[in-house]
């Protein structure tokens, strides 16, 4: 179990985060760049001192700012950190990098079998500079796992890699974390990365945790308009007194009143996006963006779409329970 309840001063704002990650659980910290996600990780790793707070890992107290004070140095924390730059030591071979934390175990079967499992078994005698980006990340991951850390922190580790490498590496990390039962925290500013990794997700903005929950629930039921914007809602439509969040992927062409509110407006602009068409729709009070399978008419032509069971927000920007509001079928 990893527990962190900390406040860290940054130049422009204070980061306040309270998270708990069980053994084998994978938490994603999702938010825009500069939201303070990395600061949370660095506080857990002991690289940044919090103003106030507590960090506990596997029954040990790593940081406590109240008396009796505790500040375990990074080298005694047993926390593994993987960043975008894999940080292999360039003067050591891959084998020596893997065995860095336990030089005596360099001939052990564990090193070889893990390297084989990660697909770098034949690169052990190579120097890190000869490895591709994906291979370097595998080696860095193997090094963390061989160091037997009690928690795995991943700071946008795959930001520089192509989509295919991200997918295979994410699957690999998920499998290894589950097998070893360590708590893992991933920092991501891409929603897809966070969703692919996480069993639970926390949305962070300007140093504060806005929402924690199941990744799909956060996307379908954001607690505020700000969270909605962060997870990809592009525009809000007025529905009675409330605002419905419109996610571009959750819109059907035509009027299907059973599935959600029907929106009528005119095409403002459209452009190809993936296999469909991203279309800006001018509604009476606002503009919303949605992805449609078929090409819409030219700008100015009328268009009718249905928003699939959208989240509803009150005037203060916080979510309204759609069931309680009794609007689900009416609108």
């Amino acid at each position: 179990m990893l527990k962190a309840d900390v406040e860290v001063d940054r130049r422009d704002f204070t980061v306040r985060a309270s998270i708990e990650v069980a053994q084998g659980e994978r938490l994603a910290l999702f938010g825009p760049s500069g939201a303070g996600k990395t600061t949370v990780l660095e506080t857990i790793a002991g690289l940044v001192d919090p103003k106030t707070g507590v960090v506990e890992l596997a029954g040990r107290t790593l940081t406590r700012t109240s008396r009796p004070r505790v500040a375990v140095p990074p080298w005694q924390r047993g926390v593994g950190l993987l960043r975008q730059d894999p940080g292999l030591f360039p003067h050591l071979s891959v084998r020596d990098n893997l065995a860095y934390a336990r030089p005596a175990g360099s001939r052990g079967g564990e090193l070889t079998s893990l390297a084989d499992a990660l697909g770098i078994g034949e690169l052990l005698s190579a120097m890190p500079a000869r490895l591709s980006g994906g291979q370097q990340h595998r080696a860095a991951l193997a090094r963390l796992l061989l160091a037997r850390c009690d928690a795995l922190l991943l700071d946008e580790p795959y930001a520089g890699l192509d989509a295919a490498a991200r997918r295979t590496l994410t699957a690999l990390v998920v499998r290894l974390v589950t097998e070893r039962g360590v708590p893992a925290v991933l920092v991501a500013h891409e929603l897809a990365d966070a969703q692919a990794f996480a069993s639970r997700m926390a949305v962070i903005d300007r140093g504060g945790v806005l929402q924690i929950g199941d990744p799909d629930q956060i996307v379908l039921r954001p607690v505020s308009t700000r969270v909605a914007e962060l997870v990809g809602y592009l525009g809000f439509a007025e529905v009675g007194e409330l605002a419905a969040g419109i996610h571009p992927d959750r819109v059907l062409a035509g009027a299907v009143p059973d599935r959600g509110p029907v929106l009528t407006g005119t095409v403002a602009a459209s452009r190809p996006a993936g296999a469909g068409w991203e279309t800006d729709i001018q509604l009476p009070d606002s503009v919303v963006t949605c992805r449609l399978a078929d090409r819409p008419g030219p700008p100015g032509s009328p268009i009718t779409v249905t928003a699939l069971d959208p989240p509803l927000f009150g005037r203060d920007g916080s979510a309204v329970d759609t069931m309680a509001a009794g609007l689900r079928r009416e609108v």
Partner: protein
Amino acid sequence: MSWAASPAAAGTARGAEDPPGQPGRADGGPAFPRRIRSVSGAASIVGAGLIWIVLLGPVITLLTHLSWHAITSSLSYPGALDPLIVSLESGGVTLAVLFLFCTPLAYKLARGSLPFPRIWEAGVLCALLLPPLVIGLLLVFMVGPYTPFGDLIGHFNLSATNTFLALVIAEVYESAPYYVVGAQAAFGSVSPRLEQQAELLGDRPRRVFRRVTLPLSAPGLAMALSVAWARAMGAFGAVIIIAYHPYGLPLQIFTTLQETGLASALPYALVLLVVALPLPLAAYVWSARAQGRRRG
């Protein structure tokens, strides 16, 4: 045709990464010498060659003006090689002092971990810019007889004028700034993230320094040390004022020049070059090889 996605299509995304055993090429391909495409290109090469020859001119001149007879006759009388011994010993002590005392300063400068880092750097720069002759003059007032420091070491029957100690002090002052600046650059080239990573893998800072920082900065440190060595070997300005005796090689050249003329001073110039150059050259070759090893 069925609407269900075929399993083969879903499987193509996997394994798209580099297959193991075929690491990406570190270099961009075969390097052809750049072709000379224009008159200005040719002129710049000729100009560069000229400057290179002009810079090497003194060395070439030295080699053309030396005769075997002159070398043997001036270096054969008893005690002729004493200045060499003195220079080597004082240079060695100087390097040891620099490495022990200036390395921590250079590291802290590189990491910016000192308060008011600009002021510290300005101080090093100031020492670097002081003319050696001025250093010598000021050293007399700082460590000479009748100064607090002179009194202090006088209790131990030591003196910092015209002694081996004075020679070492003068050489340290002439070479230390060069070492600090070079070592700072060497440490600066090691990413602090790598040191963090080593700490998180369980190493105390001292062990991190030994296992990561030092090996990675070693080529740069060796270059800085060898530059300091060359400065110490050739130290003259401060030395002539505060440590006229015992003669090191530069003073030997100077006095020989004054007493017996150019021809008999030249062999000592050769000796000075021969002792001052190998260390820098070895450091250069070694650091180039270390870089090559890292590229694998």
